[in-house]
Symmetry: C2
Subunit: 473 residues, 2 copies
């Protein structure tokens, strides 16, 4: 097992554990380009799976992929005032092309609202041109000072949907529709429970009228924002002068949305499901669902390996055979660190009984199956693993959601517990800031399906909202 570095125990040092897992599972490696990472084949394969599943959903819901420029001239970035204030401090500036100094500097896109608006202004003239439902898969750049693989990086792989609609209602519906596409994906594919809700004014996206986010809780109780969907109203459209003639030949301003998810989701997969042995991937997202490990190299073992591989191929179950010249112990460890949902061990003793051993990664339990029946058992097994991983994550998350009805309660929980705190709030930025300043906790999102029973947990004035608070990555 010499080649696999020991992984720091998760409960001893969660940050070190995370770094060990991303590195040892072969998801990411450090690059000599400061602030940028190398996404290794296994990490990229997970991103490809995410892209494939989401892209299909986007297309099913009527969206089309496009590719906009990656550079934004400074004057274009400056058009929407809130937006530029939010992004200008963290962009990379291109000031020279070849040997020439540029007349106007260009930033590498940190997000593409202004590029889409600039283009929509050109192509939207009539109600017949609406809605425009465009999406883009690309890399964006944000000049972060401190970086961590998948969580905070100067280069982020993501998708960004940007849509334009004739009516407010249609744009709001789109915002919520895509929010729910993300929610389904995270629950059913990533097996990650998410809290879905509206951001406060202070926490919303620069230039948005309303921002909704998907808040996942990591194993350590810290929040990871796993995706956002924004309703822009007419803010950008007005700033860019986008107008269309409606059915009655009246000039109108369209309503806009944007929504996106990034490779951060890989970070949340690691931090929600991983354990002391490494990554644990839900079958619905795993690029390789099964690893077959032949123990020994007798003709019989080889032949059974081939048969099972052929059955897996027939059933379109992704698999890999690990027949390298390494010890079984090494291979088991590697299969565990990589988080393949299932491993099939093919050994001499089992074969004497006509059986092979199936080990599920999430529980590390072993079951023996007859050779010819093993593959048929996998489909229900994957369903069970997927469900069980979701329920485990849900149970842990729910056990780490607390309720505070007074400042004293809030303080005590914030100082002694990790997780989210539900609390009532008057709506003032001052109170929101106080919680952030004292405990490093930001508001996560509004709770709309529970009653507000007490006053603001900070100032004790009348509460208007109920909120989740939590620390964040």
């Amino acid at each position: 097992m010499s080649e696999i570095k020991a992984i720091t125990p998760r409960d001893k040092d969660f940050a070190a554990w995370y770094t060990d897992v991303v590195k040892e599972s072969g998801l990411v490696d450090y690059s000599s380009v400061k602030g940028s990472m190398v996404i290794c084949p296994y990490g990229y394969a997970i991103w490809e799976q995410m892209q494939k599943i989401l892209d299909e959903k986007f297309k099913e819901t009527g969206h089309e992929n496009v590719q906009m420029p990656m550079f934004i001239p400074e004057s274009l970035l400056n058009i929407e005032k809130e937006h530029v204030k939010g992004f200008a401090p963290e962009v990379a500036w291109v000031t020279q092309g070849g040997s020439d100094k540029l007349e106007e500097r260009l930033c590498v896109r940190p997000t593409s609202e202004v590029l889409f608006c600039d283009y929509y202004k050109k192509i939207i003239k009539s109600y017949r041109d609406l809605p425009k439902l465009y999406n883009q898969w690309c890399t964006i750049v944000r000049w972060e000072k401190t970086t961590r693989p998948f969580l905070r990086s100067r280069e982020i792989l993501w998708q960004e949907g940007h849509t334009m609609h004739a009516t407010e209602q249609e744009a709001i519906n789109e915002t919520l529709k895509m929010l729910h596409v993300y929610e389904d994906f995270q629950r059913n594919v990533l097996a990650i429970p998410v809290i879905v809700g509206k951001k406060t004014e202070k926490e919303k996206f620069a230039g948005a009228e309303a921002s909704y986010s998907l808040e996942a809780m990591m194993y350590d109780g810290v929040a990871l924002q796993n995706g956002t969907s924004h309703y822009f109203g007419q803010g950008f459209a007005k700033a860019f002068g986008i107008q269309f003639l409606d059915q009655n030949n009246q000039l109108k301003t369209p309503y806009q949305t944007s929504w996106g998810v990034t490779t951060r989701m890989i970070g949340s997969l690691i931090m929600v499901h991983g354990d002391d042995r490494g990554l644990v991937l839900p079958p619905n997202i795993a690029p390789i669902k099964v690893v077959i490990i032949p123990i020994g190299d007798s003709e019989e073992i080889k032949s059974v390996t081939k048969t099972i591989a052929a059955n897996l191929k027939d059933q379109k179950i992704s698999y890999k055979i690990d027949d390298r010249d390494k010890t079984p112990g090494f291979k088991f460890s590697e299969a565990e660190v990589k988080g393949y949902p299932v491993r099939i061990e093919i050994g001499k003793r089992d074969l004497e009984n006509g059986e092979v051993t199936v080990v599920r990664r999430d529980l590390l339990t072993k079951v023996k199956y007859p050779i010819d029946k093993v593959v048929a058992h996998l489909a229900p097994l994957f369903i069970d693993i997927q469900k069980s991983m979701y329920n485990k994550a849900l149970k842990r998350r729910d056990s780490m959601i607390y309720e505070a009805n007074s400042w004293i309660e809030f303080s005590q929980i914030a100082q002694n517990k990790s997780g989210f705190i539900k609390a009532n709030w008057c709506g003032s930025v001052a109170c929101e800031n106080k919680i952030k300043d004292e405990f490093g906790m930001k508001s996560r999102c509004l709770i709309t399906d529970e009653k507000i029973t007490t006053n603001c947990v900070v100032c004790n004035k009348e509460a208007k909202y109920r909120l989740y608070f939590g620390r964040q990555y």
Copy 2:
């Protein structure tokens, strides 16, 4: 037909024709970011098809996708001397991050050899780590002064394979293997005949030991380099100090390749197959193979449209129904400008005979088929269209390849004809330059399967090579 702009006839002004076709078919639009273009949904869908088909081939041949940083620190770009000379004059430089001036400027990758080498140096230690067969799909930047959609752009979408091997022979085999993957793709998917061969020393890639290219001839006789595959030998590996321990525990330097294709291939699709009505797409690459155009909106027409659409869906044939409130004439024109391989017209008169009309885009011929048999006729029709488009392109290309055995012959052909010229050459850069300076023709690639019968076409000294010459995009 008011919404479709008239397309400049191809034989009147080829450049204007090209611009009209890319714009009117909805592949690309101009952006207000100088030198960058917007790839519209239809153009991006073609690129997605290319990606899907090629990516599958890359994976079948053992390659894995990764993602490297997009920025290259200046000191890293400077490591391989030939390479930096070739690329430094055309890169975009990031000099500022947020509000800080960078200590070292970074270029936006114009290609990623140095990034891969920097990473390979870190991960290749032993013969067991070889080969490394990595590929990357990404956007690169080259600071071009004049740009044309798909042909010359500041931002280029592409894939770049970068591989490392223990032996010279293995690396040479890889270079040629991927060249042939490209060749197959271009012939059988894009229906584009390509001349495949080695570049001269002068024309090879900056830092390569040998460059091979796929040379396609456009309708106007001008060459488009449709892909390249390079053998690097140990040049980069030595410059970067990449070494591995072989089976005998000896330190060795590995051998390297790189290979790539870009969205330029969309440019060649347009310029090889397009006609005065617009784009003509081969079925094997068309994102939408069939457009159904109902003429009228009677219940019967609607019902037949539905039936045929259901059959297409069953057969997994991509299609689109154009039931917009437009005239049939407009829809036919649009179907033609977009180059859908086949359109099915569903009209009242045909239905009286139980038939619908099928129009193939390449020949614009019409055939009537019984409603229930039409979809079954499509598979063989697509094969026929694909073959016929390839043969047509091949015939035209071959008719525009000339042979020159003396300077006088070369001059006369170069001044009077468009196309490629085969000629013998002594191997001196002076002679190669003379042809370029006098006629704007560069050497395309070496011909190795034909005998050298005369002396150098320029200096009349002994010829060592036989070459294609041609003007290029």
